[in-house]
Each structure stands twice: as C-alpha cells, then as structure tokens.
C-alpha cells in the first residue's frame, strides 16, 4: 500500500509527466485554452494510458523478453497503442456515443502522444510489477490532468493582460509554462521525507 502511495505521489507531483519529464507538451500547449477541453483531454489520456499499460506490459514480459527481443519494444508498443486507440474509438462510437462526442476528437491526438508511449516504456525501465505499472499510468494521467487544469487557469488570466506584441500568443504561453515547470521543481525531495 505504501509503495502504491509513493508511486502515485511521485508521478503526480514530483515527477509530473508534463512539467518535470516534459512529455506530452503538444496537447498541454494546444488544448489547455479552455478548461472543459483540458479536462476532457486529460481524462482521455488517462484512459488510454491505463489501457495501453495493461496490454503492452504482458506483451513485453511474455513475448519480447522470452525471445530476447527487448530492442523491439518501441516499435511493438507504438503498434499496439495505435491499434488500441482505434479499437477504443470504434467501441466508444458504437456503445457510448455521448463519450465519443466529447472525448472522441482527442483520441487521434493521443495515439502518437509521447506521454502515452513514455509511460509504457518507463514502466519497463523502472522495473515495476504489473499492479505498480497500472498505478503508475493512473498517476501519470492524474498528473497530466493537474498540469492541464493549472495551466488552463493561468492561460485564462494571461488572456486579459497587456502583453507586448512580439510576445503575444505562443511565446507568452511558453514562458508561463516554463515558470510553472520551475515551480514544480520545488517538490523535489519531498517524497523521501513524507513516508519515512
């Protein structure tokens, strides 16, 4: 139980996927303009991350390791993730059309999102067990949600400010994002002290 809490805390706050590991910046900058779009995107990403881990982890352990093919992990994972997202979209469209209408537009965006591939590869690298990998993906998704919601609030404030013409738009957002990332650095070392 303690390990699960440690994993969750570290991947949500200390090692936040977007703000510390700098994965998944594309949707972070692109979709964070409106709060409901940001939340929808993060939920879709969390969902895909968990399912991707659930499928790729056994494939790695029982197929790739068995035949000494660990070097194939990148290609195989991308293949699996892409087809998985397509399958999820087909299932959603048929059985839960409401969800498809709100989250459906983000699914193609998430397919080759480096955050999803990152979480599956990092699960292998950090040598987590199956349960811990799933918890790690859940935490990664929640961390993504946290970063998106925080940043969308900041963006709404920046919108009404007087910004010099050369900084208007993406430059000001990038600067704001880097400051937020800097602030998250302050969480380093918090986990070790917490669960001692």
């Amino acid at each position: 139980m303690k390990e699960i809490l440690i994993i969750l805390m570290s991947v949500i706050i200390v090692d936040n996927f977007v703000l510390s590991k700098f994965l998944g910046i594309c949707p972070f900058l692109g979709v964070s303009k409106k709060l409901d779009a940001a939340v929808g995107m993060s939920l879709a990403v969390t969902f895909v991350m968990i399912i991707a881990t659930a499928v790729t982890y056994p494939i790695y352990k029982f197929l790739l390791v068995k035949y000494n093919l660990e070097y194939l992990e990148t290609i195989v994972f991308i293949l699996v993730i892409a087809s998985l997202v397509q399958l999820v979209e087909i299932i959603l469209k048929k059985y839960v059309p409401i969800l498809q209408r709100s989250l459906g537009i983000y699914l193609p965006l998430i397919t080759t999102n480096c955050a999803v591939l990152g979480v599956t590869l990092l699960n292998i690298k950090d040598e987590y067990t199956y349960i811990h990998s799933l918890v790690n993906s859940l935490g990664a998704g929640i961390g993504f949600l946290l970063a998106m919601v925080l940043f969308s609030g900041i963006r709404q404030r920046i919108e009404h400010n007087n910004i010099p013409l050369s900084f208007k738009g993406v430059p000001s957002i990038l600067i704001a994002a880097s400051i937020v990332a800097l602030s998250f650095m302050g969480f380093g070392g918090v986990i070790e002290g917490m669960f001692v």
Partner: protein, 265 residues
C-alpha cells in the same frame, strides 16, 4: 538471417493481428450514419449557439431527421433562409422563422447612476461581479465591461456609455449574450415586440430612485393604465407580457421616470 525470423514474425504477427481485430470490430460495431443528417448539418450556420434548444447544430440536424415533430424553423441565426433550405432537403412544407431579438434591460448610463467602487482588476463583468455585487449602485446594473460583446458572433451588442446596447439590425436572437451576462439582465423577446421596460432593478422604489435617475420605481401607474393588463409590477420592477401587449404605448406616456422605451429599429 535465421535469427531475424522470430522478431520479424512477431512484429508482423502483431501488426496482422491488430489489423484483423480492427477490421472485425469496425464491421461488427459499425454505426450507421444517415446521409440526410449531414445534408441538414451543412445547411445550418454552424454557430452552435443553442437557440434552437438543442446542444449545437449537429444535434439539431440529428433531431430534425430522427424526430418528425421537431420544427425546421427553430434556427434563429440562420433565419428563414436556412428554414427554407432544410424544408427543401426534407421535402416538407416551409415554415418561416419567428424572429427574435435580445434587449438589455438597464438604463444605468454614467449620467443616470453612480458606482460604489473603482475597480482595477480583471476587466470583465463576471470578474467584477465577484466583488461585493459589481460596481453598480443598483443591484441589477449593467456592469459595462462587455462580456456580452466578446461572446456575440454577429457584432450586435456593444457597450455605449457603460451600458450594453443591442443593434436590432444585426441581432438574430441566438441568446449567447443572455447566457453570458452575469447580471441576467439581457432578455430575448419576439422581434415584433416594440415596447420594453429598460430596467431590471429588484430594489425597492425608494432605493432605486436614490441610486438611478432612470430606474423603475414600481409606482404601478403603467399597470393601472394598460387596457389589456400586459404590464405588471413584480419584484419591484415592471415587466411586459409580450403575448398580451398590443403596442398602444399608454404605459410609455404615464411613466414618471421614462423607463419604458421603444425598440430602436
């Protein structure tokens, strides 16, 4: 070469398996898309304002096709032109759109009323309303920061002299400003209605008179003189029932503060 057979087989195998699963899934779980829905959707303006009562143009298109009782003349931004196109696509009778307009029920210009604060924060009505009750001395004043202007797709509402005004020639009655106004003082009424009370003040008559020169003081003179009982004072301000109003203008003549106005064409 032989050692490469296994990895190649594995990758190709996974790819083939994924392809087969996806093909089967797409055939088994295919969703029928009605062509007619797309045609109707293309005829609609695509503003997604919700004036028709559905959650966006796609939803309205879907409901027009699925449900025979849904009228084709509900799209106010599109107007009768769009209603005509939809009737042609479906092959049913054409019904003209009931024209709607938005009106701002506040006369609190700089000359008529005063402010209770000097606000230096986020220049938005919703933000200003968080402090105390907004900057107006009246509880239901137009705050004049233009949230309505920013949401209007037709450039029909502007803030003049710190009160929002609707340009009737551009307004289509979609209702987006109504939803955005944090004071809830913008109302939608039929385009045929010419007379309205330009005040939403729920404060008592005495208080209203002390804070705004043009506010409704609920004296009820209009109520007494109306021949069809269309105007009533409820909750300290007068309102006109548009179904009953015949446009005789008697209420306008007796109003002591001149808060009942004609819609400027």
């Amino acid at each position: 070469m032989i050692e490469n057979i296994i990895p190649i087989t594995i990758v190709v195998g996974i790819g083939l398996l994924a392809g087969i699963i996806l093909t089967i899934a797409s055939k088994l779980m295919a969703v029928e898309v009605n062509e007619a829905v797309n045609k109707v959707h293309e005829a609609l303006p695509g503003v997604n304002c919700g004036a028709c009562g559905f959650s966006g143009c796609e939803d309205y298109a879907k409901n027009i096709i699925d449900d025979k009782t849904v009228k084709t003349n509900l799209c106010t931004p599109g107007g009768s032109e769009v209603a005509m196109k939809i009737s042609n696509i479906l092959g049913i009778d054409f019904q003209a759109v009931v024209g709607l307009q938005a009106i701002v029920k506040c006369s609190g210009t700089l000359g008529n009323t005063s402010y209770v604060m000097e606000y230096e924060g986020l220049q938005s009505c919703a933000a200003n309303k968080l402090f105390y009750r907004g900057r107006g001395a009246c509880h239901n004043a137009c705050l004049g920061y233009g949230d309505c202007t920013s949401v209007c797709e037709f450039d029909a509402i502007k803030v003049v002299d710190n009160v929002a005004h609707v340009d009737k020639s551009k307004c289509v009655g979609c209702g987006m400003c109504v939803a955005k106004c944090p004071q809830h003082i913008i109302k939608i009424m039929p385009a045929s209605q010419k007379i309205f009370v330009r005040c939403s003040s729920t404060d008592s008559g005495g208080y209203t008179k002390s804070v705004c020169k043009a506010g409704c003081i609920s004296c009820k003179k209009c109520e007494k003189v109306c021949p069809v009982e269309a105007i009533m004072v409820k909750n300290n301000y007068a309102r006109i029932d548009v179904e009953k109003c015949i446009g005789c203008k008697k209420c306008m003549e007796v109003c002591p503060v001149n808060v009942i106005h004609l819609v400027r064409e």
